[in-house]
C-alpha cells in the first residue's frame, strides 16, 4: 500500500486530489458517479454574502481543448449555504472547502466570519481571481497591494486553514503569491481561469454575453504548470495546483512541479469519474516507481 496522505498547513488530506470550485457543485450533483469519501477534498461552488444570479446566457463557449465560461458566481448566498446545503454535506468523509468571494473587503470578511462558525468546514479558499464579475473578484488578485489587503483582513477573522486562489492574469504570479504568504495565507491554489474570448465569425458577435470569459481545460495546462513551478520556488507554504488536469499523469506532473495537492475542474464535465480515476492512477504510478509516500514526488523536478 502506498501512502497518499498530504498536508496543507495543519490539515491532513487522505490523498492529494480535490475537485475544483465551480465544477463539482456542492458534491451532491456528482454523488451518483462516485463515492465522494474517496476524494481528498471537495471545493464547493463560489459562495458570496448575498444571492447572485450570475451573468446572462450564453455563458459558455467550447474552444480547442478547452472552454470559456462566464458564469459570474451564480449562487444562492451564504445563508442558503449554511441552512440548506451545509447540513446535507457536512458529514461527508472528505474535507469540504468553501470558495469565498466578495466585491469589497468587507464582504469577504463578513462571509468568512460566517464560515468560521461551521465546524465541518476546515478550510476556505479565498477567490481573488474570478474573471467573470464586474466588481471585486480578479481585481483583488492582480495587484500585490490589493491582494495583501484582502488576505490581511480575512486572516484576522479566520482561524482555520486559509487557502488563497491566485489569478494567472498577472505579469508575475510569484510576486502575488509572496505577498499573500506575507499576510498569513496557509496555502495558495492556482490557477483560476485565463481571461479570454470567442467570436462568432458569421454574426460578428461575441459568443459570450459578457464578451470575455475564463478559459479552462487542457488548453491552459502548460501555463498552469509553469506558474505552479514558479510559485513553488517563491514561497514556503504549500501550493495546490490546477488547470487542465485530465488524468493521473497530468496530476503527477503538477506535483513534480511543486504542487502538494491538485484540483480537478473542467475534466469533471467530460467525465465525472475522472477524479477517482486520478487517485487510482497516482497510486499505481507510485507502485510502478516504488515510491512509498506521495510527499517524495512533490517538487521533485530534476532540472
Amino acid at each position: 500500500m502506498v501512502n497518499l496522505e498530504i498536508k496543507i498547513h495543519e490539515l491532513v488530506f487522505k490523498n492529494p486530489v480535490l475537485t475544483a470550485s465551480g465544477t463539482c457543485g456542492f458534491g451532491e450533483e456528482i454523488a451518483d458517479f462516485m463515492d465522494l469519501s474517496l476524494l481528498g477534498g471537495l471545493v464547493v461552488k463560489g459562495t458570496t454574502l448575498k444571492h447572485r444570479e450570475g451573468n446572462a446566457y450564453p455563458r459558455m463557449a467550447e474552444t480547442p481543448s478547452g472552454m470559456l465560461n462566464a458564469v459570474g458566481l451564480q449562487n444562492k448566498g451564504v445563508d442558503n449555504f449554511i441552512s440548506n446545503i451545509y447540513p446535507r454535506i457536512k458529514d461527508l468523509d472528505t474535507h469540504i472547502i468553501v470558495n469565498v468571494n466578495g466585491s469589497t473587503i468587507d464582504e469577504y470578511v463578513a462571509l468568512t466570519e460566517r464560515l468560521n462558525e461551521l465546524d465541518k468546514i476546515p478550510a476556505i479558499e479565498l477567490n481573488i481571481s474570478c474573471p467573470n464579475v464586474k466588481e471585486g473578484g480578479m481585481a483583488f488578485g492582480i495587484s500585490c497591494v490589493s491582494a495583501e489587503a484582502v488576505v490581511k483582513a480575512v486572516r484576522k477573522v479566520y482561524s482555520k486553514t486559509l487557502i488563497v486562489k491566485l489569478s494567472p492574469n498577472v505579469t508575475n504570479i510569484a510576486d502575488i503569491a509572496k505577498a499573500v504568504e506575507g499576510q498569513g495565507a496557509d496555502s495558495v491554489s492556482l490557477i483560476n481561469t485565463l481571461l479570454a474570448m470567442a467570436v462568432n465569425a458569421e454574426t460578428r458577435k461575441p459568443v459570450l454575453s459578457t464578451i470575455t470569459g475564463g478559459l479552462s481545460g487542457p488548453a491552459i495546462k502548460p501555463i498552469a504548470l509553469r506558474m505552479v513551478w514558479q510559485v513553488y520556488n517563491a514561497v514556503k507554504i504549500p501550493v495546490i495546483g490546477m488547470g487542465g488536469i485530465m488524468n493521473a499523469t497530468d496530476a503527477i506532473e503538477f506535483m513534480i512541479a511543486g504542487a502538494s495537492a491538485v484540483q480537478v475542474g473542467t475534466a469533471i464535465f467530460i467525465d465525472p469519474t475522472i477524479p477517482v480515476q486520478i487517485i487510482d492512477g497516482i497510486a499505481s504510478y507510485m507502485e510502478r516507481h516504488k515510491i512509498q509516500s506521495i510527499n517524495e514526488i512533490i517538487g521533485s523536478l530534476q532540472c
Partner: protein
C-alpha cells in the same frame, strides 16, 4: 435511476435522409425508467476541436434489449462526427439526464409539435401516449419533404400532420401556419413542443395567450449536462434555472416568453 457514465455498443447507425441518422445503442447494464424529454450526453472522440460532450434526446428505449435509440441531425462538427460512427464501435455517454415532459392523462387532447433536432422527444412522447390510447396529435415541420424523416411506424400512435417551407409535403409554411395550430388549437388542452427556438417561442406565446397548458423542451448549450457548471441556464420567472437538471422541459408559464 442513478446517473452513470456508460460505454454503449453502437448496434446500428441508419441514415434516414440527408441530415438525419438513427443510432441504436446498447448498454452493458440493465436500466429503467427513461421518459420522453430526457437526454443522454455523448462523448465525441475527436482530437482538440471537440472537447465537450453533445446532448441528444432519447427517441426510444427497449428495456429488455437494454437499448436506447437516438435521432441525430447533423448541425456542426460534433453531430457530423457522431453520424460517422460505425456499428460495433463503443460510444460513451452519461445518462439518463434531465426531467421529462409531464405525461398527459388519458382524457387529455394533446398536440405534439416537433421540428429540426427536436423531433426525437416528440416521437418518443407520441409513442408513450399512443400506447395508452388517448387523443394524440402530432405536427412536424421541416424545410422540405426530403428533410422529413419517415414516421410510418408511428402512425398508429396518433394523427400526424406535416408542414414544409416549400410546400413539398403537407401544408406549406411553418408549423404555426398549419390549420391544426392556427385554426383548431382550441381542440387541445395540452401542447408539447421541441425544436428551433423561434418555433418554440411562437408556439409558447400562442399557448400563453390562449391559456393552454404548454411544455417546451429547451436545447441550451451545455458543458456538463448534470448540473455542476451552471452554463446552460435559462432566465425564468424564478431566476436562472439549469436546463440540464431543472429542464430541459419547462412549462411556458415559468419562462419569460
Amino acid at each position: 435511476m442513478k446517473k452513470t457514465v456508460t460505454d454503449f455498443l453502437l448496434v446500428e447507425n441508419k441514415q434516414l435522409n440527408k441530415d438525419n441518422f438513427q443510432l441504436l445503442l446498447q448498454s452493458p447494464q440493465p436500466f429503467s425508467d427513461i421518459y420522453p424529454g430526457q437526454f443522454i450526453n455523448v462523448e465525441i472522440k475527436e482530437a482538440t476541436e471537440i472537447f465537450l460532450r453533445r446532448p441528444f434526446s432519447v427517441l426510444d428505449v427497449d428495456y429488455n434489449q437494454q437499448t436506447i435509440t437516438l435521432l441525430v441531425k447533423i448541425l456542426g462538427r460534433g453531430s457530423k462526427k457522431l453520424t460517422e460512427a460505425i456499428a460495433g464501435q463503443t460510444i460513451n455517454a452519461i445518462f439518463p439526464l434531465g426531467k421529462s415532459f409531464t405525461l398527459p392523462d388519458k382524457s387529455d387532447r394533446i398536440l405534439l409539435i416537433g421540428g429540426g433536432s427536436g423531433v426525437a422527444p416528440i416521437l418518443f412522447l407520441a409513442k408513450i401516449c399512443g400506447l395508452n390510447p388517448s387523443n394524440v396529435n402530432v405536427l412536424i415541420g421541416a424545410r422540405s419533404a426530403s428533410d422529413h424523416i419517415d414516421v410510418s411506424s408511428y402512425l398508429n400512435f396518433g394523427q400526424f400532420f406535416f408542414t414544409t417551407e416549400d410546400g413539398s409535403l403537407g401544408e406549406k409554411g411553418y408549423v404555426t401556419n398549419h390549420p391544426v395550430f392556427c385554426e383548431q388549437l382550441n381542440k387541445f388542452n395540452k401542447i408539447y413542443t421541441c425544436g428551433p427556438d423561434l418555433m418554440m417561442k411562437a408556439i409558447g406565446r400562442t399557448a400563453i395567450k390562449k391559456n393552454i397548458f404548454c411544455e417546451v423542451s429547451l436545447e441550451n448549450m451545455m458543458a456538463c449536462g448534470f448540473g455542476v457548471c451552471l452554463c446552460c441556464v435559462e432566465d425564468t420567472k424564478t431566476g436562472h434555472k439549469c436546463v440540464c437538471t431543472d429542464g430541459p422541459v419547462f412549462n411556458v408559464n415559468d419562462l419569460k416568453w
